[in-house]
Structures are given as structure tokens and as C-alpha cells.
């Protein structure tokens, strides 16, 4: 079995990237103060093709940073991420649209950015529109959408366009009760599809137990444990209990 994702010795830090203003720097006579925050410190793991990896950890442990580093939005300071030429998309809450443009145009733009050709996208557009249940709103600018419609569209694009690797950041369900059911059903379908490699970040341990083949536990940017779903989750839950005392 080949690996879809190979992450080796990954370091990501936020350093010296504070914004500056010219007024401030003149007032202080210095230009740049470096503040280093290391979000990931030497993370390594592999995900085989078609497998589902769950990432757990307390808030601020580097989960979202890791997802963004895998998808190429952040560059690692050290180490590297190898996707072996698989296409990848990141599904997370409420991001990614040009609000001036219509939903329809945003579908095409998102698709083009994910590496699909215009014909492929046009073929799938009826399905996306149908799944999103937006009706005629799809031809209206996205800024007129309610937050529910916004996340429905965002979900539908990623769910229907289906890249080889799908990264999911805390969105196993969106919208109202009806759409929630529908979307989690669709999500399960994608996750169980053997050709898709999925990485999920979530705090919902029961869904993680149900879905994941393997769990990676991140704590303060370091891998605490990686391995069998039930083992890692029970260790993590014990650890979280000790924090509460």
C-alpha cells in the first residue's frame, strides 16, 4: 500500500511575523521584534491511501496548523510534507468565498483552484447546486447569503468535487437539522470510500471512535501517541481528566 501523505520531522513556527506599522517603528527606533511561537515541533507520520486518520488534542496544540501545513497553505520551517501527487482540499468552517461574486462563480473559482478543469466542474455543478439546496440563490452574490447558506455551499463544493485527500477541520455537520443529517451521511460516504484519504480534526470522541482507522494525539506541537483508535482516545481522555483536577 502506498502512502498518500508522508510528513517527516515537521516544524512550523510563527516568528517575527508580527505586523509592523511605519509610524510605530519610527517611534520605537527599531524595526522588528521577533517573537517565536513554535506550533509544531518535529511531527512525523504517514497516512496510507484510503485510510482515515483522526487528529486529537487540546485547544492550541497545533491541529489546525498541521492541517494547513499539509494542504500547503503554510510552509514548514523544517521538514517536509509529501503528498505523492494527490490532489488535496481543506474543509473548514466559513471560509473561502469572494463575497462580491455569485455562488455559481465561486463554485467554478474554487474548483479551478482545487485543480479541476472547467469541464469537470461544469459537469458536477448541477449536483453541487442540488446538494447545497440553495436554489436560485446560487445566482446571487455570496454576501447576500445567511451563514447557514454559506456553510452549506462551502460543504457541498468540497463534498461533491472530491479531491484524493480531504482534510476536515471540525465540520462533520453544518446547517439545520435536516442538512446536518444529510451532510453527515455524505461525509460518512466519502470517508468510507476506499479511494479517498481523509484526515479529520475533531473534539467529538464518539464520532472519532466510529470513523477513524488511526488516531494521532498532538500535545503542544509534539506527537504524544499515534496508533490504534481506542487505545489513543482512552489515553487522551485520561490525560484530559488529570488537567481538570
Amino acid at each position: 500500500m502506498t502512502n498518500a501523505i508522508e510528513v517527516s520531522d515537521l516544524y512550523v513556527s510563527y516568528k517575527g511575523l508580527k505586523k509592523i506599522s511605519i509610524k510605530q517603528s519610527i517611534a520605537k527606533f527599531k524595526f522588528n521584534q521577533t517573537e517565536i511561537f513554535e506550533a509544531l515541533k518535529g511531527v512525523s507520520f504517514n497516512v496510507e491511501e484510503g485510510k482515515i486518520l483522526g487528529i486529537i488534542g487540546k485547544n492550541g496544540s497545533g491541529k489546525s496548523t498541521l492541517l494547513r501545513a499539509i494542504s500547503g497553505i503554510f510552509s514548514p520551517d523544517k521538514g517536509n510534507v509529501n503528498l505523492n501527487n494527490h490532489s488535496i482540499s481543506l474543509l473548514s468552517i466559513g471560509v473561502g468565498f469572494q463575497t462580491k461574486l455569485t455562488g455559481y462563480e465561486n463554485i467554478i473559482l474554487s474548483g479551478l483552484l482545487l485543480g479541476f478543469s472547467e469541464e469537470e466542474i461544469r459537469k458536477k455543478i448541477p449536483k453541487i447546486i442540488e446538494f447545497s439546496e440553495l436554489g436560485d440563490f446560487i445566482y446571487k452574490p455570496v454576501r447576500t447569503y445567511s451563514s447557514g447558506m454559506y456553510s452549506k455551499l462551502s460543504f457541498s463544493i468540497t463534498a461533491i468535487l472530491e479531491t484524493d485527500i480531504i482534510l476536515i477541520d471540525e465540520v462533520l455537520s453544518v446547517g439545520d437539522i435536516h442538512f446536518k443529517e444529510k451532510s453527515s451521511k455524505k461525509m460518512n460516504e466519502i470517508i468510507k470510500d476506499e479511494t479517498k484519504t481523509v484526515v479529520i480534526v475533531s473534539h467529538n470522541m464518539s464520532t472519532m471512535r466510529e470513523l477513524c482507522d488511526k488516531i494521532l494525539w498532538l500535545n503542544d506541537g509534539v506527537v504524544m501517541e499515534i496508533g490504534d483508535t481506542n487505545d489513543v482516545i482512552s489515553h487522551y481522555e485520561e490525560f484530559m481528566k488529570t488537567l481538570n483536577k
Binding site: 511575523l17 511605519i22 471560509v95 473561502g96 469572494q98 462563480e105 472547467e118
Partner: protein
């Protein structure tokens, strides 16, 4: 050379994301039209009304004039618009597209490519008015007009080059747009948009201004081919072409090196 590798990557990405840039530009233009009915009329009305204002100020208030003044000032204004809109639009470009940037990787200069297509399209629209104005004011046509794409290309790559550099620094320097706006005002008055540098500015300086300021230079070249039927200065055009490429190499190299940390800052 460091530049060649960056440039190679740039052209590779240009090809890869060309469709995205064009589609995004088209969608933006379309959204301008659909949001208000008369909006596309502004693409014409805007340069025309400025032309009328400057014609009034210069001819009536200052009582000076140039030959074919309305066409003269119109050429200056549309060229200036292409440059200044690209430059001022680039400063906040990354911030304005934060949604896209946080969601998926794309080379950040592609955002500027798409934006510059929008301005280029508007430029071409208002430039068709030049032909109308030339007929109206009975300016003699000459074959030199065919040099038009060359000059346009030069001002375009210079605007684009400045834009790439500024879009990089715009991410890190918060008040850059304030400074750029002041600088642009300055360059505006130094570019001979409503006066002829050659005759209004004393001797050694006028030559220097037209040679060293790319906007003044390109405006001057446009006027030569449209109004006076003169041959453009090919040597200087070539030198500014080189300068434009250097600007693009600098900007693209900066973006290539730092773009993946933009999402951490914005």
C-alpha cells in the same frame, strides 16, 4: 541567477492558473455590471468627466493649452489609471483575499494577475474612446498608432512589477497604503498628465523627468503615436522593458520566498 528560476516558476504558474485568473477577472467585471445597471457606463463616464474637468481648469482657469487638449489629457488620464489602480490595489490585495488564501494554496501573484486583467480591460474600453475623440477633434491619423500594443505592454509590466513588490510589503506593513497614496499623488503631478513636460519644465529637467519616470515616459510615447504621428523611442522602450522585467523578478522572488507565511500574518 536566482531570477531565472523564480521566473520559470512564475511562467509555469501563469500557465497553470491562467484560466482561474481570467475567470476571476470576468466574474469581477460582471459583478460590477449586475450590482448597478449603469455601472458599466462609468467605465466611459469616469475618464470623460475627468477629461472635461482638466480641460476646463487648464484652458479656462490657467488659460494655457496644448494642441488637441482634450485628447491629450485623456491619454494621460487613462494611462495613469492603469498604473495607479494596479499599484494602489496591490497593497491590500492579500488581505482582501484572505478567505481564498486560508482555504487553498495559490501563488499570491496570481491574485494580482487577475486584478490587473480587470484594469487592463477597463483601460482598453476607455482607449477606444481615444479613437472617437481623435475623429471628433480632427486629429490626423498615422501608421505609428500600430505601435500602441508595445507601449501598453511596457506600462503594463511596469505596473505589474511595482504591484508584485507592494503586494508583498503590504502584508507586513500595515500603513503602507497611506504612504503609497501620497506617493501616487506626487507621481501624478510629475507625470505631465495635464501639461506637456517638454515645454512646461525648464531644460535639463524636462528630459530627465520623461526619461526616468516610466509613467510620464509611456504617456509621452502614447501621445507621440496618437497625436503627433511620431516614431516612439524604441531604445528607451526597450530599457524600460528590461526595468519592468527586473521589477517583476524582484517582486516574484519576494513572493515565492515569503508567500506561505502570509496566511500566518493576515
Amino acid at each position: 541567477m536566482i531570477g531565472s528560476e523564480n521566473l520559470k516558476k512564475f511562467f509555469y504558474n501563469l500557465k497553470k492558473y491562467y484560466k482561474y485568473s481570467v475567470y476571476a477577472a470576468k466574474a469581477e467585471l460582471k459583478s460590477e455590471i449586475t450590482n448597478s445597471y449603469l455601472n458599466w457606463l462609468w467605465w466611459f463616464l469616469d475618464p470623460i468627466s475627468y477629461m472635461l474637468i482638466y480641460t476646463f481648469i487648464v484652458e479656462v482657469v490657467f488659460k494655457t493649452t496644448e494642441q488637441y487638449f482634450p485628447v491629450f489629457v485623456f491619454i494621460g488620464l487613462t494611462t495613469w489609471d492603469l498604473f495607479s489602480k494596479t499599484v494602489s490595489g496591490s497593497v491590500k490585495l492579500v488581505k482582501n483575499n484572505i478567505g481564498t488564501i486560508n482555504k487553498v494554496y495559490l501563488p499570491k501573484y496570481i491574485l494580482l494577475v487577475s486584478k490587473s486583467f480587470v484594469f487592463l480591460f477597463k483601460f482598453l474600453i476607455s482607449f477606444t474612446l481615444i479613437i472617437v475623440l481623435m475623429l471628433l477633434f480632427k486629429v490626423p491619423f498615422s501608421w505609428q498608432i500600430l505601435n500602441f500594443p508595445i507601449i501598453l505592454f511596457i506600462i503594463y509590466i511596469i505596473s505589474f512589477g511595482c504591484g508584485t513588490i507592494l503586494s508583498h510589503f503590504g502584508v507586513f506593513v500595515e500603513d503602507l497604503s497611506n504612504i503609497i497614496n501620497i506617493l501616487l499623488k506626487l507621481v501624478f503631478y510629475f507625470s505631465g498628465i495635464f501639461y506637456a513636460i517638454a515645454t512646461r519644465i525648464p531644460a535639463p529637467f524636462n528630459k530627465l523627468m520623461v526619461t526616468l519616470n516610466p509613467v510620464a515616459f509611456c504617456i509621452d510615447q502614447f501621445r507621440r503615436i496618437f497625436l503627433y504621428g511620431a516614431i516612439p523611442n524604441y531604445l528607451l522602450l526597450f530599457l524600460w522593458f528590461i526595468a519592468g522585467i527586473i521589477l517583476i523578478v524582484i517582486g516574484v522572488s519576494l513572493i515565492n520566498k515569503y508567500e506561505n507565511s502570509y496566511a500566518k500574518v493576515v
